[in-house]
Symmetry: C3
């Protein structure tokens, strides 16, 4: 779970002496995190930590930005805000999905100001500097002599599309283990054909809490008593090993194990991979994904467990496929059922505000009113998101209190703990420090 790496001394992401000094207090605080417990309060509230999160997590790691379905045609774009950044994701004229900083190379104006749309060229409204969909500067009136337009294209952002999910990385040298993640995930996700899906609905809510609290909240079902609608199809022992299941949940867990065995047979017949793959601490692109059974009819996130869309995402010959659940740090979690997918992402706005975007994807040929009812499709996760936003707000308020002390995680919250261990290690690496929460850390600091 932990590792010791030498401080980076070469490469484009290297640390300057000035940054090292600035990070000194942060490093000391990171090293004091107690595994098995949440972070101390200021990690969720301090503006300087928030800036460091943007710099060392969202500025260095791959993060999820959008679905390929949102940029289906050449000229389609979305703009994604991360902290004070805005990034354009656009399908260019040659059908490649590309990403650029949404900043004009002249005087810095935002080039695109809508959250999504369609353009032929990227034209800055201020002085009409015009860029192609490949980011190249095509027209700038009266450009001074000696200025090379080839050096004034929109600045590029690294991009990786994996079976319909679009990831970005702002680092000069993006982490290479995105390759491993893509190779592992593709066999699970590709059969569902997300790249050919359409957006049935997309809802943004702004939660009143730090982005890490949003991520911590979605990594456990210890709080699922607070989600009555979700609990109709979601087994309440999520995250618990069999030996940790309390007596009160044993009957539910037995039912889960039966449903899992049943799902395993079906997946084998269809040639769909099922087993959970999980490495939530060590890789830069940390992950957990696998196919898990749903309760009730076992098909989808409805109160009955039956499908919500009568046209499947892909023709897999079976609707009772539970959920392909995908989580990747820092900011995405997904459920893919036979009939639809629901994609969640958290984008930090400020220390105490996080955008949570939920996107429901269905077969591109599915017709609202015929194949699905939009209110039904979005019901369970709309209610669940609202409930979660209350939990996050109450927790953010509490961790700002000087009286807050991090308490113990229970067994059902091990993924929350893993997320924070990953966070601490990535932050330490970002500061040019050796990593490792546990014996590794002890050795490193001894």
């Amino acid at each position: 779970m932990t590792t010791v790496v030498p401080p980076r001394s070469t490469g484009k992401n290297r640390i300057t002496e000035q940054q090292r000094v600035a990070h000194e207090g942060l490093v000391a605080d990171l090293r004091e995190r107690v595994p098995g417990r949440p972070m101390p309060g200021h990690f969720y509230t301090d503006p300087s930590v928030f800036d460091a999160d943007l710099d060392l997590i969202f500025g260095r790691q791959w993060f999820f930005a959008t679905t390929e379905a949102e940029v289906a045609e050449a000229g389609d774009y979305v703009t994604i805000d991360v902290g004070t950044r805005s990034i354009i994701v656009i399908r260019s004229d040659d059908e490649v999905v590309r990403a650029f900083h949404n900043v004009c190379r002249h005087r810095g104006a935002r080039v695109l100001t809508e959250p999504a749309g369609f353009v032929g060229n990227l034209v800055c409204s201020y002085h009409s500097w015009t860029y192609g969909t490949d980011g190249a500067l095509r027209h700038a009136p009266n450009l001074p002599e000696g200025e090379d337009p080839a050096c004034l294209g929109l600045r590029k952002v690294s991009i990786r599309v994996i079976a319909g999910l679009v990831f970005l990385c702002l680092a000069a040298e993006p982490p290479a283990d995105i390759d491993d993640f893509a190779e592992r995930l593709t066999p699970y996700l590709a059969p569902h054909n997300l790249a050919g899906a359409k957006v049935a609905s997309q809802v943004d809510i702004i939660e009143s809490g730090n982005w890490k609290l949003v991520m911590e909240n979605n990594r456990e079902c210890y709080h699922c008593d607070g989600h009555p609608e979700l609990s109709a199809s979601f087994f309440p022992t999520y995250g618990l090993a069999t030996q940790d299941v309390p007596a009160s949940l044993r009957a539910a867990h037995d039912q889960f194990l039966l449903a899992e065995a049943d799902l395993a047979v079906r997946c084998d017949e269809l040639g769909l991979p099922k087993e959970v793959q999980e490495d939530l601490v060590e890789p830069n692109v940390a992950y957990r994904f696998g196919r898990e059974a749903l309760d009730g009819a076992g098909e989808s996130f409805s109160l009955s467990g039956r499908v919500l869309v009568t046209k499947s995402l892909a023709d897999l010959g079976e609707t009772r496929l539970g959920r392909l659940t995908i989580h990747s740090q820092p900011n995405i979690w997904v459920h893919v059922m036979s009939d639809h997918a629901v994609v969640f992402t958290a984008l930090p706005l400020s220390p105490d505000r996080t955008l949570v975007r939920t996107t429901w994807l269905v077969n591109a040929d599915a017709v609202e009113g015929t194949h699905y009812q939009l209110d039904d499709l979005t019901y369970v996760w709309t209610e669940t998101n609202t409930q979660d936003s209350v939990f996050v707000a109450r927790t953010h308020a509490g961790v700002t209190d000087p009286a807050y002390l991090p308490g113990p995680y229970t067994a059902a919250e091990y993924q929350v703990d893993n997320f924070l261990s990953w966070y601490v290690d990535r932050m330490l690496e970002g500061c040019g420090e050796s990593t490792g929460q546990g014996e590794g850390a002890s050795e490193a600091t001894a």
Copy 2:
């Protein structure tokens, strides 16, 4: 008025070397305060001074939180916000009024989210951790082995109830002179039976100014020309010694002296203490209280001076008792008449925002519409509060101006001056420094 104390070197409240360094600039600024004048502007506006106020004043001194009437029955609670803190005051099942930090010991969520209410147990809505009204952790599902529930109760806050007024202290070692204050005040306040009263009305306003400006405003009547409704019953020479009364107010002052003499006779007959006790600078629990005459009928804060509630708070055999006025630093002022009490408290929200809560208490058996009209009862102080909030906002705006220079207090403002001397000394003590504004300070720094 001033004293020199050695720096604290022992005890739980002691100062670390790190804190001493952080406080250095503050200490230098505190020592430059000119007695007889307000603080320099940044003491009212700088976020770092605000944080120090929360830490060194509200974090170390006893402050007023609520009236006992608001937690009359077992299970009744109020939550009090001080800066980013939230504190639960609850009457526990054994009828004791207790106080706890409103922070779940698991992941920090706020346990109670309403300003007031009634509960059987204290249940955190996030993961259902459940605490008794005594703060003990009663139930936490799947608590890891090795975690002792006895160590995971809600964190306690020191509490002291004095004749119906509830004071809290966040310090590890609360100032001991609360005992002296309680002993002095109880003979004055207990006869009015506030503990058995009920809340007729409670109004919160958020003033656009620093909490110290709110306190300074209420410590003088030099501005009472701005309070026409209050001036019907409140003598305009408040705060002035007879020799300082200007010619224009001499007739009013003569009337005041007559009313005082009359009230003194009545108090003697009833065995009610009257004389003012005042020590606004030296004690941690600084105070001023005593019985003072009201104008007009001399009974209450009405335009005529007559009672506003026909059922007295306590059966004292007389309604013309003026006002028992109580002030204690940092944050409470009270007027108790024969028919009702009005309790004011200031709670800092941010450098430029202060919650001012006004609570009108009447006999628990008084019936609205029969014994009192709510609009009449609250009229004078509602108008007065609104007027004061304008004064505070205008002053806050002015002291943020770099052109602001602290000007001279007049004789009528000596209590304002005393409040600031107390503030400076408590802040210096909190920084581990010797205190004393005046010759004491000169000697200490010589």
Copy 3:
């Protein structure tokens, strides 16, 4: 364009050692500005730079506050906010326009709270301290013995009225070159009789951008494609030397040159100075003013170019006078036509918010509905201001993005470049440093 001056070592504005240390990082950043390009992003967004702007630009330089028309009669006042300051500009009983800090000398309350009005005396509403229109303390009840009322007048602000425009300076020793500016400008402006004009309309908008971006935006017409209404009368080659005019604008530029020649003849006949005077970098009171032709009928900012007010500002015997355009740093730009004047000023509110006030002045005897229609009078600049506010907001958003890189100015933007060179030099001087962007700077730092 640049100059080397020795650090100031004497005088009331001199720099303390403490300030010099505080300014060190700022100085290094200022010296790194690349001429020909905008400032790095943090110069527009960082609160500490904003504070330095208030201190070193608005705290040391002359800036525009109001028009004399707004304080036409004795007792007329306006209050002007600059950062956290409020300044009273009032015509005193002896008909002199004076300026005072709007801070009571007692406890700091704002004395006047309206943006404009009329008073006999200046009475603080808090404790009734009363000042004359000359700022002298006239009445303070119970002022302590030993306090001299003569030392407790409202604090004065330096003021200079130039042909109807009121400038203020907060420095102890205001820059002396205001004399040169006044001497140069008066022959151009005085004939239009602004001092005897009246305000037809005044509109405040708050732009979502740094004050420097507001100023940069108004210094070029490279973006005038975004101003269709303005372009009806405003020649689109503004700022371009003939040799820099692109082919697409050559016809328009030829028309401009003809209109200019025509206007020059007319000005000669009338004895009105026309030629542009410009020194935008070296003086403290940097300026550009001169008479320039308008398109269409050449009279005013209407869609036809004809006058919008049938009663001229002054009787000059001709309405086709183009625009007398005036710009002075840091915060004023003006257009004076034969029929009306429009005065713009930018007042910084916070790093990302700027008040832009537009004042339309007409002949004091012009009657709305008879001599002008208000909607017509204000149409072009209301639309233009709205368009500019969008440009400023988009630019501010973009320069907060860590991906922003300052790009090259084109020839049409030389005044923007000059503004920033002036800004950098004034800031360096304010820090007690030698100045000069270009060879001067190179020599100074070599």
